[in-house]
């Protein structure tokens, strides 16, 4: 098992290295005028340095004055020390900005993830129990609609209905206008009410795949011989489903849930942007559209790490559950 974990880890690091190379190359292939433009913008800020100073500084600090390989090595050396440079857009160190915004994203992601699990698994099991029944169709259609919904459109519809027409929630932002005057509990409620629409959006848009995954797995389990045996023994249907079948369905589900845990930190770019939640998604969207290379670079690497970590966790969990995997 240990050998397996180390092997997987080593592979992940190698993959991460190559991903970083590719991302860095793409960043470097951006037209240089992009950097010049940034320097010009920076120079026009009050109290800033001159254009040439900025250009030289930007080029130097990001190794843009060197070749791609040398520049990458410089970047890598700094990154390994945890120094990702200063964000051009936010004017503070990238990691500082990251720490500032990541927890809002995490809270948003975690709440919606818990809700997803709480809704998707029971519904998926219910659909599998009565395959081809009306409720199965309804749940399947619901899941597919969730998958097919463009998140920006759904978020806009929610805003239109609940924020504009009914005026239950505010259109965007994280805190209300009178936030400072509220009591501690009032502040909590205010923040919570601003998260309602984004959470609904995330839950509906993301719930489909987990629901379908549960249904497929449950169907597989229900078709297996030991369920037939359990039924033949005369066990009640309730016990067959809740005890024998459910436990076995949990194995792949836990694997996939474990694998998606790192994604809680990745933020929801579109949803956060639409609701202007100052999370990692919205922040990086701003950084990317304004050509903030240091922050974008950091965000892309961070995302790649999350994907790798997710795969890694899923693999490990899979190996824990299924000993055959460990052998290969």
């Amino acid at each position: 098992m240990r050998k397996f974990v180390i092997k997987r880890l080593a592979i992940s690091v190698v993959i991460l290295f190559f991903v970083a190379v590719i991302i860095y190359t793409i960043m470097r292939c951006m037209p240089s005028s992009f950097v010049e433009n940034m320097a010009r913008e920076k120079a026009s800020l009050p109290g800033g340095k001159s254009y040439n100073e900025w250009l030289a500084q930007l080029n130097k600090s990001y190794g843009l004055d060197k070749g791609i390989i040398a520049g990458f090595l410089q970047w890598l050396g700094q990154a390994l020390k945890g120094n990702f440079g200063d964000s051009w857009e936010f004017n503070i160190p990238v990691t500082e900005k990251f720490m500032e915004v990541i927890w809002d994203s995490f809270v948003l992601g975690a709440i919606s993830f818990i809700l997803e699990i709480a809704i998707a698994i029971p519904l998926g099991i219910a659909a599998a129990r009565k395959q081809y029944s009306k409720s199965d169709y309804a749940i399947s259609v619901f899941a597919l609609i969730g998958i097919s919904l463009p998140s920006f459109f759904f978020a806009s519809v929610l805003k239109y209905v609940f924020a504009i027409k009914l005026e239950w929630f505010e259109l965007f932002g994280m805190i209300g206008r009178h936030y400072e005057q509220l009591s501690t509990f009032g502040k909590f409620l205010d923040r919570a009410s601003h998260l309602v629409l984004p959470i609904i959006t995330l839950v509906i848009v993301n719930i489909g795949s987990l629901m379908r995954y549960t249904r497929t797995n449950m169907l597989e389990v229900l078709n297996s011989d030991y369920i037939r045996t359990a039924r033949a023994k005369g066990l009640s249907e309730k016990r067959v489903i809740n005890y024998h079948a459910f436990r076995n369905t949990l194995i792949p589900i836990v694997t996939i849930i474990g694998g998606s845990l790192p994604a809680l930190f990745s933020g929801a770019m579109i949803t956060e942007t639409l609701f202007q939640i100052e999370g990692i998604g919205y922040t990086s969207y701003q950084a990317m559209t304004t050509g903030d290379i240091p922050f974008s670079m950091f965000y892309l690497i961070f995302m790649a790490m999350l994907i790798l970590l997710g795969n890694f966790i899923a693999d490990i969990l899979y190996a824990v559950v299924d000993p055959r995997v460990r052998v290969n």
Binding site: I11, V14, I15, L16, F18, V19, I22, I23, I26, M27, M30, P31, S33, F34, N37, Q131, Y137, S140, V141, L144, I145, I147, S148, L149, P150, S151, F152, F153, S156, V157, K159, Y160, I164, L171, T216, L219, E220, N223, M269, I270, T273, S284, Y285, M288, T289, T290, G291, S296, Y299, L300, M303, A304, I307, L308
Partner: protein
Amino acid sequence: MTKNENNEHISTSMALDDEQRVRILSPGMLVAKRFLRNRLAVIGLLIIVVMFIFSFVGGVISPYGEAQVFKIYDSIEKDFAGAAINNEFQYINAPEESFPAMAKAESILAINKGEDRFVSQDVVYSLIKEGNDFYRIVQYQDVASVISLKGINRFTPVEGETISKEMETAYAKALDTNEKSFDLDGTTYYIINNGKNSSIALAKEISMASKMMFSAYTPDIDLSYDFRFAAEKAMNDQTQTFEVNGITYNMDLDIEDNSAVFYMIDGDEKIEYALASNISINAVNNAFLSIDFKEAIVHAIENGDTSFTMPDNNGVEVEYKINRKNNQFTIRTLTETELINTYAAPSKKHPLGTDGNGMDIITRLMYGGRVSLVIGFVVVIIETIIGVILGGLAGYFGGWVDNLIMRIVDIVYCIPSMPLYIILGSVMEFLSIDPKIRIFILMIILAILGWPGIARMVRGQILSLREQDFMTATEALGISVSRRIFRHLVPNVIPQLTVIGTMNLGGIILTEATLSFLGLGVKYPYASWGNIINAINDTYIMKMYWFVWIPAGLLILFTVLGFNFVGDGLRDAFDPKMKR
């Protein structure tokens, strides 16, 4: 396909799992039957067919073009003319003379102080008051200097000038009556007192200053200096008739309005010639305003009216409104103006209204559907080709080839796609790449990041297929490797490819719509469902014009849903093991 009808007599049941029936149907037919039995799949297929007809046939049928802008005519109140009560001196220079701005400022100072001469840039000017707020600015040229001692005048002519007896008499006469000038042989001489010394001088006209504004009756009349001078003098003296350069003019003075109309007398005819008043009037668009119109404005302003009516060129009475702001007046009137028909509500002409550019929304939706569907299909085809080739090679050869390709797959899989699309979209935005080329680049990027899933699936399938007996048979028959891969292995993967391709189509359409919504995908003038919804970045538009964005969003939803239904149905149809 096997002829089903020939074997009809054997079949006793129409049920799909009827043994007889199953035996006689080809596998493809079976899949089709199973697919069609799935209600959701059929609904999905229907949605897709409808979307294709809507996008590809609809665009042809629609009477409007993709980027056709609709305009409407509407009457809106627009500035027609401006008027101002003139409190500043206007300078009219004598022919071939110039009066510099510095001197103008000095002259105003002199007028305010009541002085009659001023110096500007070493030139001495003299002011001659001709009437109320009406001055002539002249330069005196001395003819002679006069020294008066005990009633005796001694004249000393300036070099080159002579003093005649008549002049001396006229001077003495003027002195007696205390006049400042005298006329002699049609020339006016001025007496300048300078203590005991006086001088007789000729005045050289430089300019005249007045607060009156003159406007000519027709655009081709050029009001001469002489005319203006004579006309203003006549206004001050209230003389009805005066003559300038041999032409007689008649004046119609309106003391109340402080304005006057001048007529040129040509034989018996009285021709309207010019208008003078202290209100300056200018048309907004440099058009020539008729005297009647100006007179009406002057009259209305003097009376304090806020509106007046005037017949226009066609004789129709038009109402003009006067807005006052201090000494400025704006004359506004309803003007027929061509406007872009933006955010028009749904009507017969535009079933879903028009968008912010005044384009027909339903037509934009049709063309947008084309773009979205074409992008979806092209991307799926490209990524399937890459995926099948790389996945096939990896699966068939195994070993280091497999390892290498699979590591590449891992790497590409790990590149965060959405952030990368956004970065590349912003770069294209920054370089302002042509919208048409952007679409191609977008398709290539989507395909390059999309193939690993297909490659993985193909490899997995081929890994298990190549161990099967039929592959051993192909090996025994000595069939070439490429033929073995692409004729015997790949066709066996086609069911899974179809399923994964259909599902991916929906995903690609979603991604494209999201990017276009963010303004980083398909750009104006090309329509895409995503960039139509882009309009709601303005909350006001989201609030007021549902017809701009709701239909586009529903089209995306239904199209993607259709592809997902079909993909789902295909998977169930190809793989009936999942059914009880």
